[in-house]
């Protein structure tokens, strides 16, 4: 055959091979999440369990790590009419998705899919049940808690944080932990890992008796500019500006880029606030003998039990998903006991089923799981789970600390200005 004659054959072969390689989206129930490399292995294990239980329903998992990319892809696929069968819904995206009616109401399907919705943690039931509809089956959640480095505390001969800690005690401890350990005149160990994002700050406002929005979630004036809130912001800022018990802020991106975990794992940081998701990394450092760490509730102004902010996620099914019945069955399995038991091994969150979470806590010898559960029981969902324009509000709130910190503006003036702008945003028609 001449070269010219071979070309169509080759072309046909290439097309045939490419055609074979392309899987049709109708072939399986597509499950997308932002699972990182640790979770992917566990999700595959969950998929294997599902295949045993439901051999007739093919499932394909896809991880789109990177929060921004993940959200864009899910939004685009839903808008384009080619949505995934099941996707992981972040708590702060609930209003945006639910208010636009793009999620399937799982309430009438839960029982058929074998989901006992009453078995989920009450905080998750409050979150995912809206106006009688279930907009997602819960995956898991976490309260924000205080992590402390036992090595740093022991070297400074400081007692560990305790329940009922006050802010005054917290600051005293942070001061004593902050020091120049190598005598070069520059501090190289700090009491607290300070973060600018409101994501981390929200719990501190509540710990001081303040809040961001009024109880109905419609206004910031009257809450953000209230005396208790201003005191809480001032207290938090003072940690960085007056007390100087925190490492220097290196960048002012939306995320601070303060290398908190790096400092903590090298025993140069006494405490920081975060969610359950850092546990796997800290456990790895502890297993390697680099650190010993503990978990405590956040201190509050007067020592009353803290109300930490909760961050949650759940498995949602788009209204226009293909194979909806299968998709609901998959979502149900992913939030079920088998999947939660498998996933709990990663330690990234508290299981959404208290039975699973308590079973894990019972086997925990460090006492950390009990602290997480106690805080979860007292916690409150983030405002983001109620406010549709939360991402815009959160962007504005970056200024809450940045303007006093960078420009030295008074906290009260900044808070009043932001409260007015948030009111406009929440009250705006578009």
């Amino acid at each position: 055959m001449s070269p010219a004659g071979r070309r169509p054959v080759l072309l046909a072969a290439v097309l045939a091979v490419s055609g074979c390689a392309m899987a049709s989206p109708d072939d399986c129930v597509q499950v997308v999440s932002w699972a990182d490399y640790r979770e992917i292995a566990l999700e595959e294990e969950v998929a294997d369990s599902f295949a045993v239980r439901f051999p007739g329903i093919p499932v394909c998992f896809e991880s789109l790590s990177g929060a921004g990319i993940y959200r864009e892809k899910v939004l685009t696929s839903i808008a384009a009419g080619t949505p995934p069968g099941v996707f992981l819904l972040d708590g702060i995206d609930i209003p945006a998705f639910a208010n636009r009616g793009v999620l399937l109401d799982l309430a009438p399907l839960a029982e058929r899919a074998g989901v006992d919705t009453a078995a989920f943690h009450p905080r998750l039931r409050e979150l995912f049940r809206r106006d009688g509809q279930w907009i997602a089956f819960p995956k898991g959640f976490t309260p924000m808690v205080l992590y402390y480095n036992r090595n740093v505390f022991d070297r400074a001969a400081e007692p560990y944080p305790r329940e009922g800690w006050t802010w005054a005690e917290f600051v005293d401890t942070a001061r004593r932990l902050t020091s120049d350990t190598d005598g070069d005149g520059v501090e190289d160990r700090w009491g607290f890992g300070w973060a600018r994002e409101f994501f981390y700050v929200q719990s501190w406002l509540w710990a001081g008796g303040g809040d961001l929005l009024t109880a109905d979630g419609t206004r910031a004036t009257g809450a953000l500019d209230a005396a208790e809130t201003l005191d809480a912001i001032a207290f938090y800022l003072d940690l960085a500006t007056r007390e100087k018990v925190v490492p220097r802020i290196e960048m002012f991106r939306r995320e601070s880029s303060v290398p908190i975990l790096r400092l903590f794992s090298s025993n140069r940081l006494g405490m920081f606030v975060s969610g359950h998701w850092v546990v796997p990394q800290l456990d790895a450092h502890e297993a390697a003998g680099r650190i010993r760490y503990g978990v405590a509730s956040l201190p509050t102004r007067d020592g009353a039990p803290a109300t930490p902010v909760l961050y949650s996620s759940g498995w949602a099914v788009p209204r226009n998903a293909p194979h909806r019945k299968w998709a609901v069955q998959v979502a149900a399995f992913l939030s079920g006991e088998t999947a939660q038991r498998i996933r709990a091994r990663a330690g990234l969150e508290i299981a959404g089923l208290p039975s699973v979470a308590q079973a894990i806590a019972a086997g925990d010898t460090t006492g950390r799981a009990a602290v997480f559960l106690a805080n979860a029981a007292r916690g409150r969902q983030t405002w983001g789970a109620r406010v549709e324009k939360w991402r815009e509000v959160e962007d504005l709130l970056l200024d809450l600390l940045d303007r006093p910190l960078v420009r030295g503006e008074p906290v009260s003036a900044v808070a009043r200005d932001l409260a007015t702008r948030i009111d406009q945003l929440l009250g705006a028609s578009r």
Partner: protein, 545 residues
Amino acid sequence: MSNGTSRGTVIGFVLVPLALALVIPAWRIGAGSRASETARLLAEAESAAETLRNTLVAAAGADATGAIFVTLATIDPATSAAFYDAAADWSAVAMRAGADPDRLAGTPPPVIDLADRALADALDARVTARLVSRDRAITVRVGRRTAAVAPVKDAANWDIVGAVLLVRTAADPARVPARPLALAAGTWLLSAAAALAWTRRRRPWAMALAGLIPAAGITLLARWPAAGSHGLWSVFAFAGWAVLATIGAGLASIAHRPAAFREARRAWAFLAPSLAHLVVFSIGPILFSLWLSFHEWDLLAPARPFVGLDNYRELAGDGDFLRALRNTAVYVLFVPIGMVVALGLALLVDRPLPGVRVLRAIFFLPYITSFVAISLVWRWMFQPDVGLLNNVLARFGIPAQPWLSSPATALPSLMLMSVWMYAGYMMVLFLAGLQNIPVSLHESARIDGASAWQRFRRITLPLLRPTALFVLVTMVIFMFQVFTAVYIMTEGGPLHATDVIVYHIYRNAWEYLRMGYASAMAWALFAIVFVITLVQFRWLGARPQ
């Protein structure tokens, strides 16, 4: 020959494409209107299905699971009552008989034929198969007839226990869509008359009419009731036609010169594939964003209302947008600085030095390196404590700089990085310009006693002017669209000091889901860059004397 060729060209490039640009959208709009009528019928079917399900549950006194029925009906008030009664009776019988869904799924379901037995038989198998695999409403086409199939679900809205087939045999005259095709045909005829008149008389009014009439027709089509997204497609089709018609008019005007005509026709034939690519992947999306900018459009919400100029009005008073605009304008100032650096580098590597080719490649490398990788490396270099730059400064006793951590230095830091990143690219352009300057000019100047500075000032710079204009214009256009560095390095901070327009557009579109508003910003950016480019051409584009 020339009149015939001219007429043939107008027909081939103007009238045939216009027919397609009008008829295809009109046909789609008509179909869309019919689809909305089908959707209405489907909603009616779902309501009927709900009634049936309730009847079934009431009749059986238990869960309806197990009964599968397929019913044919017409949207005809006279027969609908009988249809409901018969369907309910049959289903109740099926259920009482303990029908097993698994068994029934594999066998033809019972059919109540109220309208058309042959049609029922034809629909039977395929509907059953599709309902088993999908649990939502589907539309089945048999011959020219369309049937909307509404699944009937059990009380828990979980299993399909039956289906209602709604065969549209007679549409409601009040709801029959008017005739978009008639409008398209009328538009085409009028336009054809105008175009042919132009080929005979060459009157400008005839040419204007040939363009205005389709524009008016397309506008009416685009605003057709229930046109939906097909209205938008008619605008795209019109844009495609406008491109072809312009080419056709150009060709027709040279039809009296056969050689030029043939050459132009051949040239356009070669250009056609890339032109088609441009229309589909560039012009189409651009027009779509223009359309978006007049709508409130957030990707997810089904309602996408037309808001006219509201988005543009809001822009004018949006302090955040104006700040982003100012930041971008300041950022673009690095271009002239970079040009000076690039010219210096070009003069350096324009000499016959040993290893000069390697040097050129090294200078050019940043431009062909991934911008993301460069941004990540520079982010590390800018770190206040452990970054390379402050470490170097410290060796010379210079205090550490905040670089990206201060609003005062963040944008200049990005500009510094950009100079490094783009200097090599600009250098290559200047180098090409330098090597185009005749050596004889420099030699004669040298013989006349001109110093090196005088030769540079009087010969090199003036002759580099076209190159400099090209570099300036393209770089300014490019830099107004800066995004990657900001996205990776600063995310607009600190205190919005590096919040540039494209990043602002991105946040509005993808974080706040305000696609319409973001599109308006994109068009505002286009207008600004367009004006700046015009000014550059006007002020700097004059030929050197």
